[in-house]
Amino acid sequence: MGLVVLTGVVAVLYLTSGLRLVGREGSGWRSLDLDALQRRIDAGELQGREADWYHRSTDEETRTIRGLP
């Protein structure tokens, strides 16, 4: 009986962690290893080319940001 309950708990934890993982996808922005990025830009391996399609966020948009870096 204990083994059945344990299996159930593990299954629920596995499924909910999977759902949390999927839920996190597409949440608006991601943190990244800025030092690594800057090193590779400085070495010419990546670029700092300005993108074409963006604007400075409005106050209203900025307020939607969660979990600042």
């Binding site: 999927v22 996808e25 597409g26 949440s27 608006g28 922005w29 991601r30 943190s31 990244l32 290893d33 800025l34 690594a36 990025l37 090193r39 590779r40 830009i41 010419g44 391996e45 990546l46 670029q47 700092g48 080319r49 300005e50 993108a51 074409d52 399609w53 963006y54 604007h55 400075r56 966020s57 409005t58 948009e61 900025t62 939607t64 940001i65 600042l68 870096p69």
Partner: protein, 326 residues
């Protein structure tokens, strides 16, 4: 804090300074959005056009194919996840190929087309645009292999320098997009209509994942939408799923499901319906929709015979077959 809002795709990521967009490769540095993988692909290959798959666009020709890291979707079944689900700074291999060099190398490799492919070229938009502009001026075609999760305005601008696209329409179901791809359906449909309006040659791929998007009613709805919104001559490729990434618990798509899907789409009125990722399947070849003549025979990505006339007609009934044949 100087946040920026990306306008490229429907996610509309609001990115704080020092953060990246959901795609991982568009980064806010000092209050400006930077395309960090511009001119820095991590995958370069010469492929046959059939691998894209584009069956009605320069068949049998080699296409210089590139991709950078990053993607704005997160498909559980992604076949290129080591490339698409990583940022540029995470990649072991990065090539320095700015647009002028890209054109030069493509030409040196004997390619008359460049494909922006593998991950999703939407996220390296500026690189695609600048390269395509140069390529067009040099007489090289540009093909865009994409899930088309992109806003209409940037897409319309990009279409001016593209020649063809294969769009991965993942399912005709918004719930599927949310669960499996981390996206939504409507922007993809809007993008397809925009591509058609802009005169791009379009083919569609629908990867059939057992029990997820292989329901005949869904396939019929998808085919009817394609017929009504894009036209009956739009090629539709049903592709076989292989278990990978986070979907290794499912079997490969059976031949029966692929055949059933092909029949549904043909019955719905589409004239060029293909089966892909199945070596030697008769659904990999092109037939005249009027008299059934074999026009282009294929085995996998290779052309075994090409019976089209020089001006792209059926040799038997002389029907004009839609596509770009030269």
């Amino acid at each position: 804090m100087s946040a920026v809002t990306c306008e490229l795709c429907p996610r509309a990521c609001v990115i704080p300074e020092g953060g990246a967009g959901d795609c991982r490769v568009r980064v806010n540095l000092g209050g400006k959005l930077r395309a960090t993988t511009y001119g820095r692909p991590s995958a370069i290959h010469v492929d046959p056009m059939e691998k894209k798959p584009l069956y009605h666009f320069r068949p049998g020709s080699p296409v210089f194919s590139i991709a950078t890291a990053g993607c704005n979707l997160h498909c559980l079944n992604c076949q290129n996840w080591q490339l698409s689900q990583r940022g540029g700074e995470d990649m072991e291999q990065i090539y320095r190929v700015d647009p002028p060099e890209l054109i030069e190398v493509a030409r040196r490799e004997g390619c008359e087309s460049i494909a922006y492919t593998y991950s999703d070229p939407v996220v390296f938009y500026e690189y695609v645009y600048d390269s395509s502009e140069l390529a067009r001026a040099a007489g090289i075609s540009n093909v865009f292999i994409t899930a088309a999760y992109i806003n209409r305005k940037p897409l319309r601008r990009l279409c001016r320098v593209l020649d063809a696209a294969n769009v991965d329409l993942k399912a005709f179901d918004d719930g599927f997009y949310r669960r499996v791809n981390g996206g939504t359906l409507q922007p993809v449909l809007d993008a397809l209509v925009t591509m058609r309006e802009e005169g791009l040659w379009i083919e569609i791929t629908n990867l059939l994942i057992p029990t997820f998007n292989d329901d005949p009613a869904m396939i019929r709805a998808l085919a009817l939408w394609v017929r009504d919104e894009l036209g009956e001559d739009t090629p539709l490729h049903f592709s076989r799923f292989h278990p990978q990434y986070r979907m290794r618990n499912l079997p490969p798509t059976s031949g029966r499901i692929l055949d059933r899907a092909r029949k549904e789409a043909t019955d719905a009125g589409l004239r060029y319906v293909y089966v892909g990722n199945v070596l030697g399947h008769e659904g990999g070849s092109t037939y005249c929709p009027t008299d059934g003549t074999l026009l282009i025979g294929r085995a996998g990505f290779w052309i075994t015979e090409n019976n089209l006339t020089a001006d792209g007609r059926c040799p038997t009934c002389e029907e004009k077959i839609p596509g770009v044949w030269q």
